[in-house]
C-alpha cells in the first residue's frame, strides 16, 4: 500500500551536507563533539552574534573592494562641487538611472554656496561604469566602478561632497581601509605579546616571573608624552602619514601589552594549582599544550571582552596624536580623520552630511561588540 510505504524511501537520498549535519547532530547527542564544534554551535544559535558577524564581513568586504565600490577615487576633487549636498538619483524606464547636473555659486552677502539643479539635463548613471583608475586589492589595475556616471568626467555625489569637492561616499569607503586595518594590527600585536609573555610569567613563576614582572614595571614607568615627542622628531620626514601612524601604533602596542600580560599572569597563577592542571602534567602534556589547551579556556572570555572593547577605542583614537604630528591627519583618509574634519560649526550648521562617517564607525563598533559578545558566550559552551 502506498499509504504504508516508508516516507523516507520516497525522498531523494540525503545530500552530503545533510549527512554532515546529521553526523554532527549525533556527536552533540552522544557527547563526542569537540570544543570548537560546541563553540561554533553555541555561536550560531545567537542571532545577534550572527548578525554582527555578517555585518562585519560586509564592512570588510566594502573596505577591501573600496576601489570598485566607490564611484570616484579618494583623491579626485572638483572645485565646482565643494560642499555639494547629497544628490538625488532619479529613475525612469526610458533613461534608466540619472542625476541632474548642478551649478554652484557663492552668494557674496551670505557666503552661502548655492547649488542650482538643471532639470533639463540628465547625467546618465550605470552599473559597472568606467571611471577613475585604481588598484584592486592593491595590485590589479582597474577602472570599472560598481555604480557611476557613464561619462567618466562627470561627478556623482550620493552622500554629498566635502569642502574640497571630494565624494564623501568614496572617502568613507577608502577611509575604512585604514581604520579597519592599521589600528587593529596594533591591538592584535599587544594581545599576542600579552598572552605569551603573561602566560610564561604566570606558568613558570619563580625567577622568570620576577624578571618579567620587573621588565613590565620598567616599561610601564616610561612616560609616554616625551616618548611620543622623541618619536615625532625621529621619524623621517618622507614617511607618509599612514606609515608614520602605523609605526607609532606598532611602537605603542610594543609598549601597551603590559596591562594584558599582568591580567593573564594572574589568571594563570590562579589556575596553576588546580587539580586538572596537575592531571595534565602527570599525563605528560607539554607546557604549551597545558597553557593553551587547559588554562586558556578559563580566561578566553576575558581576552575577547577586552579586545572587542579595544577595537572601537582604537578607531576613535586614530586622530588623538595628531597634535604631535603622529596621528592620522589629512591628506590621509580614515574615518577618524573625516570625523575630525567635520567637527566644526560650519559643517554642523551647513553641511551635516559630512557627519556621515560617524555612522560607519557606529556600525563597525556595534558589529565588533556583537561578535565579541557572542564569542564570549560561546567560548564557554557549557555555561548557561
Amino acid at each position: 500500500m502506498v499509504d504504508q510505504m516508508n516516507p523516507a524511501a520516497l525522498e531523494a537520498p540525503p545530500t552530503p551536507r545533510q549527512m554532515r549535519k546529521a553526523r554532527a547532530q549525533l556527536k552533540f547527542l552522544d557527547g563526542t563533539a569537540s570544543q570548537s564544534q560546541l563553540i561554533r554551535r553555541r555561536y550560531k544559535s545567537n542571532p545577534m552574534a550572527m548578525f554582527g558577524l555578517y555585518l562585519l564581513c560586509l564592512i570588510y568586504f566594502t573596505a577591501i573592494f573600496a576601489g570598485f565600490l566607490a564611484p570616484h577615487s579618494a583623491s579626485s576633487t572638483s572645485a565646482d562641487h565643494a560642499y555639494q549636498p547629497p544628490q538625488a538619483v532619479h529613475f525612469t524606464l526610458e533613461d534608466g538611472f540619472f542625476i541632474h547636473p548642478t551649478e554652484s555659486s557663492t552668494d557674496i552677502e551670505t557666503l552661502q554656496r548655492v547649488f542650482v539643479e538643471d532639470p533639463d539635463v540628465k547625467i546618465p548613471l550605470t552599473f559597472f561604469a568606467t571611471g577613475d583608475e585604481y588598484q584592486l586589492l592593491g595590485f590589479i589595475p582597474a577602472d570599472v566602478h560598481f555604480f557611476g556616471t557613464v561619462d567618466p568626467d562627470q561627478r556623482l555625489y550620493l552622500l554629498g561632497a566635502d569642502r574640497a569637492g571630494a565624494d564623501l561616499l568614496s572617502l568613507i569607503l577608502y577611509g575604512g581601509q585604514i581604520s579597519l586595518s592599521l589600528g587593529l594590527i596594533g591591538v592584535a600585536v599587544s594581545l599576542v605579546l600579552g598572552i605569551v609573555i603573561g602566560g610564561i610569567s604566570g606558568y613558570f613563576g619563580g625567577l622568570t616571573d620576577t624578571i618579567i614582572q620587573r621588565v613590565i614595571e620598567f616599561i610601564m614607568s616610561i612616560p609616554t608624552l616625551p616618548l611620543w615627542l622623541g618619536l615625532a622628531a625621529a621619524i623621517p620626514p618622507r614617511w607618509g602619514i599612514t606609515e608614520t601612524y602605523f609605526a607609532i601604533t606598532m611602537i605603542l602596542s610594543l609598549l601597551g601589552w603590559t596591562g594584558m600580560a599582568r591580567v593573564i599572569r594572574g589568571r594563570v597563577l590562579q589556575s596553576r594549582g588546580e587539580d586538572y592542571i596537575l592531571a595534565a602534567k602527570l599525563d605528560g602534556a607539554s607546557h604549551g599544550r597545558i597553557i593553551l589547551r587547559h588554562m586558556m579556556p578559563s580566561f578566553v572570555s576575558h581576552i575577547i571582552a577586552s579586545m572587542s572593547l579595544a577595537v572601537p577605542a582604537m578607531i576613535l583614537a586614530e586622530t588623538s596624536l595628531s597634535f604631535l604630528g603622529l596621528g592620522l591627519r589629512a591628506p590621509a583618509i580614515s574615518w577618524g580623520v573625516l570625523l575630525q574634519d567635520s567637527q566644526n560649526l560650519q559643517v554642523v550648521a551647513n553641511a551635516p552630511w559630512l557627519l556621515m562617517p560617524a555612522l560607519a564607525v557606529v556600525l563597525t563598533v556595534i558589529a565588533f561588540n556583537f561578535v565579541g559578545d557572542g564569542l564570549r558566550d560561546a567560548a564557554d559552551p557549557y555555561g548557561k
Partner: protein, 655 residues
C-alpha cells in the same frame, strides 16, 4: 533675504530694558550725586558726565581722588569713530589660549606713541611730544605731566629710565637685544633724564623705524613698566639675596623669570598699568575667565574732556574653537575679530539678525598662503636649483590658483604674490604680477630649459645627480582660514603635472619651528603678511634664524657672521637694502630702500603666493557703538582690534 521688521521683539525688549535702566540710573543720580537739576532728558544728563558713575561713587566715598587730580594736565584725546556715548557695561570676548595676551594689546596698551587714525604714522600718546634729531639717531620725548599709574602713583621719567637701563640694559634679561630695540651695531639705546618729564634716548646710528616699532602695541607696551612696583623684584634696587629668595619661594628658577611673571599685566593682577583696563581676575584662575576693569587714572579723554574708557569692564572667556564659534553665533561675544574663523562666517551671518549682532568685514593682514623654498638648503644641488629664478617661477606658474580659489573660497579669495599691496608706502607700480598666471606649458618648458629633462618611471624629473625632484612641504595645519592641507593637496597635483613631486608634511608648531631654525626643510608653507613689512622684516629679509626663506643666511646676519652660512649674492642684496632702510636718515631714503626690497621680491619670486582671504569677519553687538566701519586692517602690528581705539567703544544702553 527677508525684509527687516520695523521693530523686532528683541530690540523692543532691549529698548524697554534700556529705558528702565536709564530711568533707574537718573533716579539714582538724582539721589546721590547732586546732579544738576533741570537738565534735559536722561541721555542728556548721562552723556554730559565727565567720568564713569562707578568712579564718581568711589570719589564720593573718599576712596578715589577727584577726576581733575587723576587726569594729566593735558589728557590725550582719543580719535572718535562715533557720537556721544554712555558710560558703563561689560564687554564680553573669548579667546582660545589662556596665555594669549592679545586682549591686553588690543584693549589695554599704553605706549609713548601710537598709530594715528589712518594707521600710517606714529603720533604721541603717553608722550606729549616725541621728536627726533635730523638723522633720527636721537629722540627727545616729553611725557605728559601728571600721568598716574592705576594705583595712583605718578608716572615719570624715572619709570622710562628704569625700562631703558635696568630692563633693556640688563644682560640677564636682555642677553642680546632684538633689532627693534637696538642700533645697527646691536647696542641698546642710551637714555638720559633731562627733567622729570623729559627723556633723551640716543642710538649709535640712525634708527628711523623706532617710533614705528613703539607704535606696535606688543613692542611699545613693553616700554611702560612701573618702577615703584617692580623694584622689589629687581637686583639693581633690592638686595640680590632677597630677590633670589623671592623667586625661589614663588617657584621660579631665577629672578629674571619671576620678574617677567610679575611684569605680565595679563596674568598678574597686582602690577599697576597705564592702559585703559587692568586685570582683576586672571584667566589662569579656575573659572577660565579673565575679568578686567577700567583704570580710574587712564590718561585719555574724548574731545569733550570725558574720561575714557566708556565701557566699565571686559570679560574674556577661554574657549575651544567650536565653543567660541558657537558663542559668537549666539551673540554672546560683543566685539571680536581675532580667533574667529573665516570658514564659519556663513554661520555668523545666518544668526546675526536674530541674535542682535552684525558681521563687519575687515581687511585681512597676513592671510596670504604661500610657499617659501629654502634658499639656504643644506643640499648644495637643491640650494642651487632653488636659487634660480626660472625654477621658482616655474613652480609658481604650475599652480592653478583659480581652481584652489573656486574650491576653497568659492572664488571669493584674492590671488596674489607676497609683496606690499597697493596703498602701502613700499608699494610701487607693477610689482607682484610675475609668474602669477597659471601656465603649465610655460612651467614645463622652463624646467626643460634648466636641463631637468630626464624623468624617472613615475614621471618625476631628475636632477643632474640623478636624484628626483622630490620635496617635502613643511607646514602647520590650520582650517580656520584657508584650509591648508586642502590647498596644498591641490598644489601637489598641479606640481605633479610638471614633473615635480611634493610630499605634504603637516607638523605641530614646535617641530615646525625647530625644523626651520635648524635649516632642516625643503619648502615652508606659511601665510605671509604684506603691509608694513618693515615692522616684521623676517618674512621678506632673512634677518634671523627664524627666517622662512633662508634660515642659515638669517643666522649669519643675526650673529654678524659668527654662525650660519654666508648669504648668496641675491640674499646679500636684500640684506644690504634692509640695512639701508633701517639706518636711513630721511623718509625718502627709507622708502626707496623698502621699495627696492619689494621690487626684488616681485622680480625674483622668492616666495610663491597662492591665495588670500577676501576679508576677516568681525562680530559686533548691535548695541556697541563707535566701531569704525571703514574696513580697517586686522593686523598684529596694529594691535588687531586696537585699530578702532577700543577705549572709546560704548554700549548704546550704558549699564
Amino acid at each position: 533675504m527677508t525684509s527687516t521688521p520695523g521693530l523686532s521683539r528683541r530690540s523692543f525688549v532691549q529698548l524697554g530694558a534700556g529705558m528702565i535702566a536709564g530711568v533707574a540710573l537718573v533716579t539714582l543720580a538724582g539721589c546721590t550725586f547732586d546732579a544738576p537739576a533741570g537738565t534735559a532728558g536722561a541721555a542728556g544728563t548721562k552723556t554730559s558726565l565727565k567720568e564713569a558713575p562707578m568712579l564718581t561713587k568711589l570719589v564720593k566715598e573718599g576712596k578715589l581722588p577727584e577726576l581733575a587730580k587723576r587726569l594729566p594736565a593735558k589728557p590725550a584725546v582719543a580719535a572718535s569713530f562715533g557720537g556721544t556715548a554712555l558710560y558703563g557695561g561689560t564687554l564680553k570676548r573669548g579667546q582660545l589660549d589662556a596665555g594669549d595676551r592679545g586682549v591686553m594689546q588690543a584693549f589695554a596698551t599704553a605706549s609713548f606713541v601710537e598709530w594715528d587714525e589712518d594707521n600710517r604714522k606714529p603720533v604721541p600718546s603717553l608722550a606729549e611730544k616725541f621728536e627726533s634729531n635730523d638723522d633720527m639717531s636721537e629722540f627727545t620725548m616729553t611725557l605728559r605731566s601728571g600721568l598716574k599709574w592705576s594705583d595712583g602713583e605718578p608716572y615719570t621719567a624715572d619709570d622710562v629710565l628704569f625700562v631703558m637701563q635696568n630692563w633693556l640694559g640688563n644682560k640677564t634679561m636682555m642677553p642680546s637685544a632684538p633689532y627693534w630695540f637696538s642700533s645697527a651695531d646691536k647696542s641698546v639705546p642710551q637714555a638720559e633724564k633731562v627733567s622729570d618729564t623729559v627723556i633723551k634716548i640716543s642710538f649709535t646710528s640712525p634708527t628711523p623705524l623706532w617710533p614705528k616699532y613703539l607704535s606696535n602695541p606688543s613692542v611699545g607696551g613693553q616700554f611702560v613698566k612701573p618702577l615703584h612696583y617692580l623694584r622689589q623684584f629687581h637686583p639693581d634696587f633690592t638686595d640680590q639675596g632677597t630677590v633670589d629668595a623671592q623667586a625661589k619661594a614663588a617657584g621660579f628658577d631665577s629672578w629674571d623669570k619671576y620678574f617677567a611673571d610679575r611684569d605680565n599685566t595679563w596674568t598678574n593682577p597686582d602690577v599697576p598699568v597705564m592702559g585703559a583696563y587692568r586685570v582683576i581676575t586672571s584667566a589662569s584662575s579656575a573659572s577660565g575667565t579673565a575679568d578686567l576693569e577700567r583704570n580710574p587714572y587712564y590718561y585719555k579723554t574724548d574731545a569733550d574732556g570725558r574720561q575714557l574708557p566708556f565701557v566699565d569692564r571686559l570679560q574674556v572667556q577661554i574657549l575651544a574653537q567650536e565653543a567660541l564659534d558657537l558663542r559668537a553665533a549666539n551673540g554672546d561675544l560683543d566685539f571680536q575679530a581675532q580667533f574667529l574663523g573665516y570658514n564659519t562666517t556663513q554661520v555668523y551671518l545666518q544668526n546675526a539678525e536674530k541674535n542682535g549682532f552684525h558681521v563687519d568685514r575687515w581687511t585681512p593682514a597676513g592671510s596670504l598662503l604661500s610657499l617659501c623654498p629654502n634658499l639656504s638648503h643644506k643640499d648644495p644641488e637643491i640650494r642651487e636649483l632653488f636659487s634660480k629664478k626660472e625654477f621658482r617661477g616655474a613652480l609658481s606658474q604650475a599652480i592653478n590658483r583659480e581652481a584652489i580659489n573656486k574650491s576653497l573660497l568659492g572664488g571669493l579669495g584674492v590671488v596674489m604674490q607676497p609683496v606690499a599691496p597697493k596703498g602701502d608706502e613700499y608699494y610701487s607700480d607693477g610689482i607682484g604680477k610675475n609668474f602669477l598666471e597659471f601656465d603649465a606649458d610655460a612651467a614645463n618648458s622652463a624646467l626643460d630649459e634648466l636641463g631637468l629633462t630626464e624623468k624617472d618611471s613615475n614621471g618625476v624629473r631628475l636632477m643632474n645627480s640623478g636624484k628626483p625632484l622630490d620635496f617635502v612641504l613643511l607646514y602647520v595645519d590650520a582650517t580656520t582660514e584657508i584650509a591648508r592641507t586642502d590647498a596644498y593637496s591641490m598644489v601637489v597635483k598641479d606640481l605633479a603635472n610638471v614633473g615635480i613631486k611634493l610630499t605634504l608634511k603637516p607638523a605641530d608648531s614646535t617641530l615646525y619651528t625647530q625644523s626651520r631654525t635648524t635649516n632642516d626643510y625643503d619648502i615652508d608653507g606659511t601665510t605671509v603678511p604684506q603691509t608694513k613689512f618693515d615692522l616684521e622684516p623676517v618674512w621678506y629679509v632673512p634677518t634671523g634664524g627664524n627666517s622662512h626663506s633662508a634660515p642659515a643666511f638669517g643666522q649669519w646676519y643675526a650673529s654678524a657672521g659668527e654662525s650660519g652660512e654666508q648669504p648668496s649674492a641675491d640674499v646679500q642684496k636684500l640684506l644690504d637694502s634692509w640695512d639701508a632702510l633701517r639706518t636711513a636718515t630721511s623718509d625718502d631714503a627709507r622708502v626707496k630702500a623698502g621699495k627696492a626690497i619689494m621690487k626684488q621680491h616681485s622680480d625674483e619670486c622668492y616666495m610663491i603666493g597662492i591665495l588670500a582671504l577676501p576679508f576677516v569677519p568681525v562680530v559686533i553687538n548691535n548695541d556697541l557703538l563707535n566701531v569704525r566701519d571703514d574696513k580697517p586692517e586686522l593686523a598684529f602690528v596694529l594691535g588687531r582690534e586696537r585699530v578702532t581705539k577700543p577705549e572709546q567703544l560704548a554700549f548704546a544702553t550704558g549699564e
